[in-house]
């Protein structure tokens, strides 16, 4: 015979929704019994109306009383990734004009800068309901992007040619001239970025003999006239001018499209002009020494603070990780690191994709400097320090040991990797 045993403490926690362990206990109860009802302390069946039913696809709670879905309780349903609600599809069959956008497509995907520029193109195309325009995107080489329709693209010119792959500004310019000849867009938009847009946009403007607006950061509309505001003189001045045909826009120049889906209808070009002389030969990307990369630009930084005792080990770890080295002010003041490696308010503001802070407590002056880092990893022996609170991953323990283990792990993976290649 099985005895039902009560655990008054767990039951108490289950009733108390504000208890810190509530979610955990409910999850356990979830596994054992029905989560939405349980036996109260004095034998009464208790129901939690908040835990009945599950979230519907559009964010509304749905209670199923037919018992069909009884197995799937709210607790698990709510945590599931919500299906993306279907956005309305906009089709533009007969556009009055075309706004062409040439996104950078870094790594074969639309960058956030590209999406901002597409948002700007949308503004231009949709401004006048009497004269509806269409947004045309031009994509060179292969791509991995799967969300073109969510970025506000009505038409897509996809130029698949292995010679257009990678850096090939002259060939790309020729193709853009073909598009100009055949479709004659009302405007040409480029992201004004080092990833290629800045160069290609200027090349095309010069070829078309159009004076472009560069470093555009916002569109202004004055009684049906488009104007734009541009940054000039290297960030020192703002220039307001009428909007020309060719526009090179900065990041955050407009809100990216978020409300609707668009058609992404492929457009074929009928003719291509004969190729002109190619004067630039791309010999490919060069391996760079991470230590030579300026700290503000580095993608991956290993940063050491007062908690680092063995600096040789630290330098070795940076070498093995192929990471740029950074430091807290204390490490610099104590003479372990050069001044130009200091991260923080009075040092360099970094924007690394991954920032590993070793033995750094996370003083506000330091945290300010790493505001723009994507992922922060803390290695610290004090679990309560501010760096651990900021970190996306914190390892509580001795810095030296963790670094050593990390270096060993990487060496091991590297040798496995080379074995693989040899085999």
């Amino acid at each position: 015979m099985s005895l039902t045993r009560k655990n008054p403490r767990l039951e108490w926690i289950a009733r108390n929704r504000l208890h810190p362990e509530h979610a955990q206990v409910m999850a356990e109860l979830d596994a054992s019994s029905s989560p939405s009802q349980w036996m109260g302390p004095n034998g009464l069946l208790r129901r939690d109306p908040h835990r009945v039913g599950r979230m519907g696809p559009n964010g509304l709670k749905r209670i199923d009383r037919s018992g069909l879905l009884a197995g799937q309780a709210y607790g698990s349903g709510g945590k599931q990734a919500k299906a993306e609600p279907q956005k309305p599809l906009i089709t533009i069959d007969d556009p009055a004009f075309i706004v062409a956008v040439v996104p950078d497509m870094a790594g074969g995907e639309l960058t956030s800068h590209d999406k901002d520029v597409l948002g700007m193109a949308r503004q231009l195309a949709d401004a006048d309901p009497q004269r509806q325009g269409a947004v045309l995107a031009v994509v060179f080489g292969s791509y991995r992007e799967t969300r073109f329709e969510h970025a506000g693209i009505d038409r897509l010119v996809f130029l698949e040619d292995e010679r257009l792959e990678g850096y090939s500004p002259e060939r790309r310019l020729n193709r853009l001239e073909d598009i100009e000849r055949e479709l004659t867009p009302e405007r040409w938009l480029f992201p004004d970025s080092q990833l290629g847009g800045a160069e290609l946009g200027r090349r095309l403007s010069v070829r078309l003999k159009e004076r472009p607006a560069t470093h555009v950061w916002q569109l202004l509309s004055e009684d049906g006239e488009w104007r734009c505001e541009c940054r000039g003189a290297r960030e020192r001045s703002d220039i307001v001018r009428s909007l020309p045909r060719c526009i090179l826009a900065l990041e955050e120049c407009a809100e990216p499209v978020s409300e609707n889906r668009y058609e992404v209808k492929p457009v074929e070009l009928s003719s291509t002009a004969p190729e002109t002389m190619i004067r630039i030969d791309n010999l490919g990307q060069v391996e760079v020494d991470p230590a030579s990369v300026a700290l503000g630009e580095a993608e991956f930084i290993l940063s050491g603070g007062n908690g680092v005792k063995n600096w040789d080990r630290f330098h070795n770890a940076a070498l093995q990780l192929r990471a740029a080295e950074g430091a807290s002010r204390v490490a610099v003041d104590n003479g372990f690191m050069p001044r130009e490696r200091q991260v923080g308010a009075t040092g360099t503001w970094v924007s690394a994709r991954v920032y590993i802070a070793v033995g750094i407590s996370g003083a506000i002056q330091h945290l300010q400097g790493i505001e723009r880092c994507n992922k922060v990893v803390a290695i610290n022996n004090d679990g309560g320090c501010d760096m651990v609170k900021r970190a996306d991953l914190a390892i509580i323990g001795d810095a030296e040991g963790v670094l050593e283990a990390l270096v060993e792990l990487i060496e091991q993976k590297r040798s496995e990797e080379s074995h693989h290649e040899a085999a």
């Binding site: 559009n58 964010g59 609600p85 850096y167 080092q194 990833l195 800045a198 160069e199 200027r202 403007s205 010069v206 070829r207 472009p212 560069t214 470093h215 000039g232 290297r234 020192r236 001045s237 703002d238 220039i239 307001v240 001018r241 978020s258 409300e259 030969d281 791309n282 010999l283 490919g284 990307q285 060069v286 760079v288 990369v293 300026a294 630009e297 580095a298 993608e299 990780l321 192929r322 990471a323 991954v354 994507n374 992922k375 679990g383 609170k389 900021r390 970190a391 996306d392 991953l393 914190a394 390892i395 509580i396 323990g397 040991g401 963790v402 050593e404 990390l406 792990l409 990487i410 990797e417």
Partner: protein, 270 residues
């Protein structure tokens, strides 16, 4: 001083550097423009090259003072093509370069004064029919009418290109920092003025130019049809928290966790 790179072969390579005037970032006093001085540095480090500096603009005292900054780097003379205010200098520079016919023209990416659109090198390359490269950081070699150069990419990465000469190159701000400008040479050098007719840039007059203002920060707007989501997003605490904390783990386990994150973020080169 560290040894200058001396093994760069370039027999009688003539280089023109287009220099503009800049301002000291803090004091605002007239001086060298940062990117242009890097271009001069690059040209001076190329062995066997003959370097000439070219500026087109108003021959004011302030302008000459700024140009002396380049002379102070150890340059003997600068050609100053006299132009009136608001002149479009494309045509006159095209003419000058056509007659001096250098193999390589260096310029900054973006001027520190005026529109700063970074368009001039492109216009010159188009009108002269020369090659154009952007974001130059160093010149590796010049052989058989071709230059092998390194181009700057974001995040400190580099790309190697081979370019047919004559070429116009814009110099990136990550190119080697320019040497100090010394007072003596700056005084001794000569500024040679050449007068030329100016073409006034008419379009510029229609521009409304003002001091740069702070760009508004983008707000996080949550668009959702359900009020519940909007409320949740608005009430959510920003920043902090939510990170994974591993305490009481061995060093090896900690290292594994970090390794996993590094691989996910694709920053580790094995």
């Amino acid at each position: 001083m560290k040894p200058r790179e001396s093994d760069k072969k370039s027999a009688s390579l003539s280089i023109s550097v287009l220099v503009s005037t800049g301002r000291h970032p803090i004091t605002g006093r007239p001086g060298r423009a940062d990117q242009d001085s890097r271009a001069v540095e690059l040209a001076m480090n190329l062995q066997g090259g003959s370097v000439s500096l070219l500026h087109a603009g108003q021959p004011t005292e302030e302008c000459k003072e700024a140009l002396r900054g380049y002379l102070g780097m150890g340059i003997d003379r600068i050609s100053l093509i006299e132009q009136s205010e608001h002149a479009d200098i494309t045509e006159v520079l095209t003419k000058t370069l056509k007659s001096s016919n250098p193999s390589l023209v260096l310029a900054g990416t973006q001027a520190e004064q005026g529109e700063g659109s970074g368009l001039l090198p492109f216009l010159l390359a188009e009108s002269l029919g020369w090659s154009l490269v952007s974001g130059l950081v160093s010149i590796e070699s010049v052989e058989n009418g071709q230059a092998t150069i390194l181009q700057a990419l974001p995040r400190g990465q580099r790309r190697r290109l081979k370019v047919r000469l004559p070429a116009i190159a814009t110099v990136d701000e990550s190119a080697e920092r320019a040497r100090q400008s010394a007072f003596g040479p700056a005084r001794r050098g000569t500024i040679e003025t050449i007068s030329e007719a100016s073409h006034i840039d008419e379009t510029l007059a229609s521009f409304e130019i003002k001091k740069a203002r702070v760009r508004p920060k983008r707000l996080k707007i949550v668009k959702s049809s359900s009020a519940r989501d909007r409320f949740k997003a608005a009430a959510a605490k920003s920043g902090g928290g939510g990170g994974q904390v591993l305490s009481d783990v061995s060093a090896q386990e900690g290292a594994e966790a970090i390794f996993k994150l590094l691989q996910e973020e694709n920053v580790l080169k094995l």
